[in-house]
């Protein structure tokens, strides 16, 4: 029976801690005057200018080869930048997906031409990606995808609809997951990935506003959209294998337990010198969880750097991490005598409102809680 072993993470070094100091200096300057409510958007907050400034510091594409505009730094150095950004509530959303999974996928599965074309632009903070996975009838059941790319002269013709696509309105490209061959006995066969220019004729983006009124989501419709053969990412028919290899990147990072860190900090700010024993116990417990999750998540960064495939480990981090994020809302709410109000001038009260309204998404995006538990069970050999 497979026990999940989280190997010790690579230790902090002088280099990582020097880098941490640089990031903190940068953030103190760049985020001065940013409201707590904006910070609370965490990696949902988009600011292309901020992304370009980060890129100028060499903080996008940190681990990628220099010949593609990367910086050949370690996974741990990248981790330091990510966690400092999230802890400060920096608006990293514009480039987040491209940096986290699109470019790594292109580097791994793309042609040399694709690598040279896309990766340097991503590293410069000039090229943002979105993920075309979910569909109206295909959410957790990704293999049920109905969007189809049919072979035509010189490429493919695509018809179908993607939904809940975060940032489709601001992204330059989408990595589209769709069916390229008829569904056979093997549900995971016959699917492929494409890199789609969001300006391609036949592609329309329609906004979907979330319950707070934010434009998080979009619907993306493809009507006889033509894609050249060069848009294919990796091998035709390998889409399932490719997409699952992204998941460890998508699920193991500090974005899976620091989304609500601003709420914790503003809670401490609100309590100020009134942290009684009851509050200290509740808040201390949250910090204990964060410290453990951070160790597990850094351990996975080390595994990814060594070329291992920690998909089940990542599912554990995401499940425990998002559960903590959601629980944190309840802990703070019961601890502090205030009613949530997004229009309040009080930063804690405004952040609480924001966090309550976004919390349900934490255990949906990037794989639902139910899917993750199923994956862990599979890792245990139960299915």
């Amino acid at each position: 029976m497979a026990q999940l072993n989280f190997a010790p993470p690579p230790p902090n070094t002088e280099a990582t801690e020097r880098l941490r100091g640089e990031v903190r200096g940068f953030l103190a300057k760049e985020l001065a005057g940013m409201s707590a409510q904006k910070r609370a958007s965490s990696w949902g907050g988009r600011d292309p200018d901020f992304s370009r400034k980060m890129a100028a510091q060499g903080w996008i594409g940190m681990t990628w080869p220099k010949k593609y505009g990367g910086h050949e730094r370690t996974a741990l150095e990248r981790y330091v930048v990510l966690e400092e950004m999230l802890a400060a509530g920096a608006p990293v959303g514009a480039h987040w997906i491209a940096d986290r999974q699109s470019a790594p996928s292109i580097l791994r599965f793309g042609t040399e031409e694709q690598r040279q074309f896309f990766v340097p632009k991503i590293a410069k903070g000039e090229c943002f990606f979105c993920i075309g996975m979910s569909e109206p009838d295909s959410g957790s059941d990704l293999a049920a995808t109905r969007t189809r790319a049919v072979s035509v002269e010189g490429g493919f013709r695509v018809n179908g609809t993607k939904i809940w696509t975060s940032g489709a309105n601001a992204a330059h490209y989408m990595i589209l997951f769709c069916r390229t061959d008829q569904k056979g006995d093997d549900r995971h066969a016959g699917v492929s990935q494409f890199i789609v220019d969001m300006r391609t004729p036949g592609l329309t983006v329609r906004p979907i506003y979330d319950m707070s009124g934010y434009r998080q989501f979009n619907e993306v419709v493809f009507e006889d959209m033509f894609l050249p053969t060069s848009a294919l990412l990796g091998n035709q028919g390998d889409g399932w294998k490719q997409v699952t290899s992204e998941l460890a990147y998508e699920r193991s990072g500090p974005d899976r337990f620091l989304s609500t860190f601003t709420l914790l900090i503003e809670g401490f700010g609100m309590l100020a010198n009134r942290v009684d024993d009851r509050a200290a116990i509740a808040l201390g417990r949250i910090i204990a969880h964060l410290m453990t999750l951070r160790r597990m998540s850094r351990s996975i960064a080390g595994m990814l750097q060594r070329g291992e495939d920690p998909a089940t480990h990542a599912a554990v981090v995401k499940e425990l991490g998002t559960s903590l994020e959601q629980e944190m809302v309840e802990v703070m709410r019961l601890l502090i005598d205030a009613e949530p109000d997004g229009s309040s001038n009080n930063p804690y009260i405004a952040v609480l409102a924001h966090t309550i309204m976004s919390a349900p998404s934490f255990s949906l995006r990037g794989g639902t809680r139910e899917i993750l538990r199923g994956m862990i069970a599979r890792g245990l050999g139960l299915r």
């Binding site: 029976m1 026990q3 999940l4 072993n5 989280f6 010790p8 941490r20 966690e83 802890a87 860190f261 914790l264 900090i265 503003e266 401490f268 700010g269 309590l271 010198n273 942290v275 024993d277 509050a279 200290a280 116990i281 509740a282 808040l283 201390g284 417990r285 910090i287 204990a288 969880h289 964060l290 410290m291 453990t292 999750l293 951070r294 160790r295 597990m296 351990s299 480990h313 554990v316 499940e319 425990l320 139910e370 993750l372 538990r373 199923g374 994956m375 862990i376 069970a377 890792g379 245990l380 050999g381 139960l382 299915r383």
Partner: protein, 353 residues
């Protein structure tokens, strides 16, 4: 992972696996001293793991010693392994030579320090200690006491003390003691630099965190195995999704406990960092509670009985989560420290620990 560590892991797995079958655990729970197991541990250099080589010990690193301890707990080894490690570490740090045989420490519960006074070229130790682990079985008790403000270690023969037998939920001895005895000058010395009652409690918490992680990993194995064997409605109950999701959570909590125990071991090895150990004990305690509950739910009635091994592990989890500070004790320390540091420093403290 070094080669020494791998060898140690294999040796410990074999030794505790062989020595802790159901009969041995049941006998120990009935108050029988597991002589054969302890002898094996002595012969393989586990009991003096934290005694330096130049003092006749194995001189293992703290993290290797804690790894062996975690494995002992994977088998619910009914011996004062953690306590012997703690006592020999205290004694060695003070330059004292502990006698052969099982050892234990005081204070173990709470921070009441027995009082030490000078007398006739020696010392007199007086006071109480509650719930001292395995006091009745120990060859000596390393008592963390104080001469004024100076932390001192006294090696005490339990025969000189009044012992009232008690036990924890797993029937491990937890004895109340009254100290009122004269000690020779050679049995009392200054504690190692920086070691006081709080340090002892921290190290004890790091030990229990590792024991919880070990026992819980076994509980996970047992539960996975049981649910694959038990058939209801025509199929193994592990095939039911409701069961799979519960087991996934048990696995997640077990993984978190292991990671937290590693964090405690690193801290104990390095500098006894208070925040790291406090967080580890808090996190492991919570895993113990959640994990034991899921395991019992999955095992049904049989897991609730003496017919099955499960209770040897869950009873230890329920005891160890409270010993050397329960979750709320350590969370309180973390929360107060964060409040004192202020909002600007909370993150940097998390990162530094």
């Amino acid at each position: 992972m070094s080669e020494t560590t791998d060898l140690l892991r294999d040796m410990a797995e074999r030794l505790f696996g062989d020595g802790c079958d159901k009969a041995a655990l049941a006998a120990a729970a009935n108050g029988e001293w597991p002589k054969a197991l302890w002898t094996q541990m002595e012969e393989n250099g586990l009991t003096n793991a934290l005694t330096p080589e130049n003092a006749g010990g194995s001189g293992l690193s703290i993290s290797d010693a804690l790894l062996a301890l975690r494995i002992s707990a994977r088998h619910a080894a009914p011996v004062p392994f953690a306590e012997t490690l703690l006592a020999s570490w205290l004694a060695a740090g003070a330059g004292l030579v502990a006698p052969a045989g099982p050892l234990t420490i005081a204070p173990a519960s709470g921070v009441d320090v027995p009082a030490l006074t000078k007398r006739d070229g020696g010392w007199r130790l007086s006071g109480r200690a509650r719930r001292v682990p395995f006091a009745r079985d120990a060859a000596a008790i390393a008592v963390l006491t104080a001469d004024g403000a100076m932390p001192m270690v006294a090696l005490v023969d339990p025969k000189l003390c009044k012992i009232e037998n008690g036990k924890n939920l797993a029937s491990e001895p937890r004895d109340d003691m009254v100290f009122d005895c004269d000690l020779a000058a050679r049995d009392v010395a200054k504690a190692a630099n920086g070691v006081d009652a709080h340090t002892l409690r921290l190290f004890g918490a790091a030990m229990r965190a590792n024991q919880i992680a070990g026992a819980l990993s076994r509980v996970l194995d047992m539960t996975v195995q049981y649910t694959q064997e038990r058939v209801q409605f025509g199929k193994p109950i592990s095939k039911f999704q409701a069961m799979q999701h519960n087991l996934a959570m048990l696995a997640a909590h077990s993984a978190a406990a292991n990671a937290a125990a590693d964090m405690a071991a690193d801290a104990a090895e390095k500098d006894m960092d208070e925040l790291a150990i406090a967080a580890a004990k808090t996190r492991c305690g919570e895993s113990a509670s959640v994990g034991a509950a899921i395991a019992h739910q999955a095992h049904g009635a049989i897991g609730f009985t003496q017919e099955h091994m499960l209770h040897f592990f869950t009873q230890r989890l329920w005891s160890w989560r409270d010993e050397f500070g329960k979750e709320s004790d350590w969370a309180l320390l973390i929360g107060r420290s964060a409040a004192k540091a202020g909002r600007e420093k909370i993150w940097s403290d998390i990162v530094t620990a």
